[in-house]
Every structure is written in structure tokens, then in C-alpha cells.
């Protein structure tokens, strides 16, 4: 398991971030984040509020443009393309293509309110990947079933409870069959009963070779499912390593304090 700079990784990491920096109006929110995730690994990001976890996820997806450092997914720089020996900024169309390989589930769902649950899931496969409509529908229903909402396929988001909405959002991200899945506190709005089910889905995905970065406060999940746990604070990686090390035997006083307050 490697969490150092990608150069020293024995396998080529699926996601590698090197000295990533990001500022908002003069305030540096990410102060040089370096980490790597190998294919099939699950990485959990922990950290107090405002530590930059969401911002980092958005950078991986190129929803935010980084101010320094580099991120690459599947060997390709995010947002930049190499032709001959020069690096070019990607145009929006290329960025969109690149994003298809990276699914994301947001803290605040962001479902499309004018589409039913099923349409939310099938909109991108049909419109962007040009999958046959009937096939996309079938797959959509299957995914809805997987998150326990098969009977609500025709409901609009406003008619669903918070928990139900987040589950539709997860199904929507899965529908593009992404190589890498980013979760921004995916279970924070979920019903405790259903957290287990969703985690099971996520574990199945992981064993199918899915690589995931999960921002979460569920220490139990991190301990059971993560290959790597990263603790962020104030825009830097404070500590990272296997869950048994970071969670049960943290080196940094800051990590220790955070874990004490959470557990």
C-alpha cells in the first residue's frame, strides 16, 4: 500500500495527487496535498469541518481548477492533455469526456429536480454515452433496486425524503460505470438502517475493481472497508496509512484529538 509520491509506487496508482494547492480569494484551502490510490483501493478521508476535504474531491473531478501541483487519474493528467512533449490545457469537451470515468456523490445530493428518480439516473448514459434507452432504463431500475428504491422510480426528488434522495444520487453516479468513485459524506443524510446496505454496495464495487475516495465521518466504515485512511486538517495531510495504524494508533496529537471526539 503506497501513499507516498507516485514515483515510488510499485503499481501505477489510479489516482495520484502531487502537492495540490488551491486558494479561494487569497485563502489557501489546500496547501499541497500529495497522495495516491491504487486500483481497487478504497481511501477514506477524515478531517474536521473546513479542512478542505470537499474541495479536494472537487479538484479531482476538475470542478475546481487547481492552483499548483498536479492530479492524475488513470495515468492521465486531470484537465491537461499531453501531445508530443508539450502539455495543453484541455477544452471543455475533453474535460467532460475525462469526467465520465470519475463518478461523484455530493454532500447535498444535487439531483435534477425536473427529472424523476429514474430519469436522473439514465440522463447521462442515454444522452452522453448514447446507450440504448431501454437498456439504460433496465440498468437504472436495477441500480434503484440496489439502493432499495425500485418502487420510487417515477417520483420527483421533491417527493422523496432526504435519505431517499441521496440513494438516488448514488445510483446516478454508478450508472456511468466510472473507474473512480468520489463520495462526499455519502451516508451523512442516510437512514442508519440503510447505511449498511449502501456500504455493502460499495464493498461489492470495491471487490469488482472499483477505486473509491470516500469523505466520511463513519469511523466504523473506515476501519472495515478502507485500505488507506487519510486524516486532513487545515489543508494538509496530517497522517495517512492503513486504518489499523491511523485509527487505532495515531501518531499525531491532532488526529488523536479528532478521533477521541468522534468515537
Amino acid at each position: 500500500m503506497t501513499i507516498e509520491a507516485p514515483a515510488s509506487a510499485p503499481v501505477e496508482p489510479l489516482l495520484s495527487a502531487l502537492k495540490v494547492r488551491k486558494s479561494y480569494g487569497g485563502v489557501e484551502v489546500l496547501k499541497g496535498i500529495s497522495l495516491a490510490v491504487n486500483p481497487g483501493q478504497v481511501m477514506c478521508l477524515l478531517g474536521p469541518s473546513g479542512s478542505g476535504k470537499s474541495t479536494f474531491l472537487r479538484c479531482i473531478n476538475h470542478l475546481e481548477r487547481i492552483d499548483g501541483g498536479r492530479i492524475s487519474v488513470n495515468g492521465e493528467l486531470v484537465g491537461y492533455a499531453q501531445r508530443r512533449d508539450r502539455i495543453f490545457e484541455m477544452n471543455p469537451r475533453e474535460v467532460a469526456r475525462q469526467r465520465r470515468g470519475i463518478g461523484m456523490v455530493f454532500q447535498r445530493f444535487n439531483l435534477f429536480p425536473h427529472m424523476t428518480a429514474l430519469e436522473n439516473i439514465t440522463a447521462a448514459p442515454i444522452g452522453v454515452r448514447r446507450i440504448n434507452k431501454q437498456k439504460a432504463r433496465d440498468r437504472g431500475l436495477e441500480l434503484l433496486d440496489r439502493v432499495g428504491l425500485a418502487n420510487l422510480a417515477q417520483s420527483y426528488p421533491a417527493q422523496l425524503s432526504g435519505g431517499q434522495q441521496q440513494r438516488v444520487a448514488i445510483a446516478r453516479a454508478l450508472a456511468m460505470d466510472p473507474k473512480l468513485l468520489l463520495f462526499d459524506e455519502p451516508t451523512s443524510a442516510l437512514d442508519p438502517e440503510l447505511v449498511g446496505d449502501v456500504l455493502d454496495v460499495m464493498r461489492t464495487l470495491a471487490s469488482d475493481g472499483m477505486t473509491m475516495v470516500v469523505v466520511t465521518h463513519e469511523i466504523g466504515f473506515a476501519r472495515g472497508a478502507a485500505d488507506v485512511v487519510v486524516f486532513m486538517d487545515g489543508g494538509v495531510v496530517v497522517e495517512s496509512g492503513p486504518p489499523e495504524v491511523v485509527l487505532d494508533n495515531p501518531q499525531s496529537a491532532r488526529t488523536k484529538a479528532f478521533l477521541d471526539s468522534v468515537m
Partner: protein, 325 residues
């Protein structure tokens, strides 16, 4: 708490059993509503009667002209002009709105300039400009500027007849106004929607058409309804270039027979009719694009009538938010 007896039960949901513990309360009365309704009804009816009986109005003239063939052809032309100009200008307007919201400085400035110039000058002057372009340029040529090389050259008045000039003027002018409306609609869509769309790999254009515009429609439709209805009447400005739409035909007739009041009434009837026809698609478009916004759709007029008769508020929140004002 003592149970009141002399009243209607509050619970009237699908569960029809009435429990002794249910509140039986006097529903909120709105006496002034009824007072106002009756007052206004009397007002409208007496206004209608006095208008109808006014000796300055010659009713046979109205009935004579309302289906006059010249008036009817004016109506048709008005409708055609309105529909064509609105459709084309909406497409242009969306384009301009997207340009205007872009951070691409060239596009942005261009769209801004367009909106500035076309909203800034009176439509009438734009009509005169396009209609009498031949005054400024007798020939229109396509070629390389500052050289004598021309690909194509034609008499302006042959290239742009009056009707085309009128349509051009209405469309280009309306596009500037529509652009502002579409832009405001797009601004009303949450940023999270863009993020979600991009995260599933939608391109900016796809996002625009499948995610942003459908949500913006809810906000766009009412002012666009306004614009359509204005357009219906703005076509009358084409009289300066002798396009014979409804209003121009009517004033031509009335300038000859001097039945100006009667012909204005004929015109009003037609415009009222056309406006009413136009507001039906608007109503259903609003409902359609409103889906998924509220938990329950707003009631249709039919449902409203039932609610009025049955005196059952439709949702608690709505009732409150408006009763007070």
C-alpha cells in the same frame, strides 16, 4: 378542552372516520372576500352595461367590421408575424444569454453590445432602418472590404421587401429582450446542478439543454408570455413600412370612415381573443416545467373552482402565504 359542536369537521382527508378526538372547529371565515367579490361583480357588470349602452358607440359598425375580410387578413398576418418573430428571436435570445453569461470576454462584450444597441433604440426606428435601408444603401454587396472585389450584389429593396424588413426588425429587437429574460432564468438555477451534470460527464452544451434550461423555463415562461403579448401588439408599429397587420388595417379603415372608436373596439376584441388563446399554452407550459419543483402541482382552474365551492384550502402553507396580503 371542550369540544365545540356547532361546526364542520376539520378532518376531511381520505380517512373518513371521524374520531371524537378530532377537532371540530369553525373554519376561518373571509367575509371581506365575499364583500369584495360582490362589490367588484356589481362594478364590472355596471361598467359593461354603461359601455354597451353608450350612445357614442355604434354597435352595427362593430359587428360589421369584426369579421371584415381585410380585418381577418390583418389578424392572420399579426399572428404569423408574432409566431415567427417569437420563435426565431427566442433561439437568438438563448444564444445571446449564453454568450452574455460566459466569461469569454469577446462573446460577452459582443452580446452586451447587441443587447445595448437593440434595446436602446426604439423599435420603430429599427423598423424604419430595415424598411428603408435602401435610403442609406441602394445596393447590398458581399465582398472584401476596401477592395473592389464583390461576390454578390443586389438592389436593397429587392433583397429586403417590406414584410421581411418588418420581421427582421421585430426579431432582432425581440432577441435583445429575450436574451435578458433567458439570462435571468439561467441565473436562477442552482450551481450544484452544473456540478452534478459535469460530474456525470455531461458537456456544457448538453448541460445547458437538458439540465439548466428546463429548470430555467419555470422562471422564463411568465416574462416570455409578457413578451409574446407585447409582440402581438408591437407588430402594429410595422404600419410605418406599410405592412398591413391588424392594427394598421383598422386605422386605415377608420381614417377613411372615421369610425375610430368602433374600430378600436374591434381591434381590442381581437387582441383580447388572441391574448386569451396564447395564455392557454402558457398555463400548461408553466405547469409542465413546474413539475418536480413543488411537492404537489398547483391546482388547475377546474380544481380551483371546486375548492371555492367546497371551501377546502388546498395546502396549508400556500393558503397562509397569501391570505395576509
Amino acid at each position: 378542552m371542550a369540544h365545540a359542536t356547532l361546526a364542520t369537521p376539520v378532518g376531511a382527508g381520505p380517512a373518513t372516520q371521524i374520531d371524537p378526538d378530532d377537532i371540530v372547529a369553525v373554519p376561518l371565515r373571509h367575509p371581506w372576500r365575499w364583500f369584495l367579490a360582490v362589490f367588484l361583480l356589481i362594478g364590472f357588470v355596471s361598467l359593461g352595461i354603461s359601455l354597451w349602452q353608450n350612445e357614442n358607440i355604434n354597435h352595427p359598425t362593430i359587428t360589421e367590421f369584426i369579421f371584415n375580410p381585410r380585418i381577418l387578413s390583418g389578424v392572420v398576418l399579426t399572428v404569423v408575424l408574432t409566431v415567427v418573430a417569437m420563435l426565431v428571436s427566442t433561439v437568438l435570445g438563448v444564444l445571446l444569454a449564453v454568450m452574455r453569461l460566459s466569461n469569454n470576454p469577446v462573446m460577452n462584450t459582443l452580446a452586451w453590445l447587441y443587447v445595448w444597441a437593440f434595446r436602446g433604440t426604439p423599435l420603430l426606428i429599427q423598423i424604419v432602418f430595415w424598411g428603408y435601408l435602401g435610403l442609406l444603401y441602394a445596393q447590398i454587396s458581399v465582398g472584401i472590404p476596401f477592395t473592389d472585389f464583390t461576390i454578390f450584389s443586389m438592389e436593397t429593396n429587392t433583397l429586403i421587401p417590406a414584410l421581411t424588413a418588418g420581421l427582421l426588425a421585430l426579431t432582432l429587437n425581440q432577441a435583445a429582450y429575450s436574451a435578458e429574460i433567458v439570462r435571468s432564468g439561467m441565473l436562477s438555477v442552482d450551481e450544484g446542478q452544473y456540478e452534478a451534470a459535469y460530474s456525470v460527464g455531461m458537456s456544457p452544451v448538453f448541460t445547458l439543454f437538458k439540465v439548466v434550461l428546463p429548470q430555467a423555463m419555470r422562471v422564463i415562461i411568465p416574462p416570455m408570455g409578457n413578451e409574446t403579448i407585447s409582440m402581438l401588439k408591437n407588430t402594429s408599429l410595422l404600419s410605418v413600412i406599410a405592412v398591413l397587420e391588424l392594427y394598421t388595417v383598422a386605422t386605415q379603415i377608420s381614417s377613411q370612415n372615421l369610425r375610430q372608436v368602433e374600430l378600436l373596439l374591434v381591434v381590442s376584441c381581437w387582441y383580447l381573443f388572441l391574448t386569451s388563446v396564447l395564455s392557454i399554452p402558457q398555463y400548461y407550459l408553466e405547469r409542465y416545467y413546474g413539475r418536480g419543483k413543488a411537492r404537489t402541482l398547483p391546482p388547475t382552474p377546474f380544481q380551483r373552482v371546486r375548492a371555492l365551492l367546497g371551501r377546502r384550502p388546498i395546502t396549508v402553507r400556500r393558503t397562509e402565504s397569501q391570505d395576509a396580503s
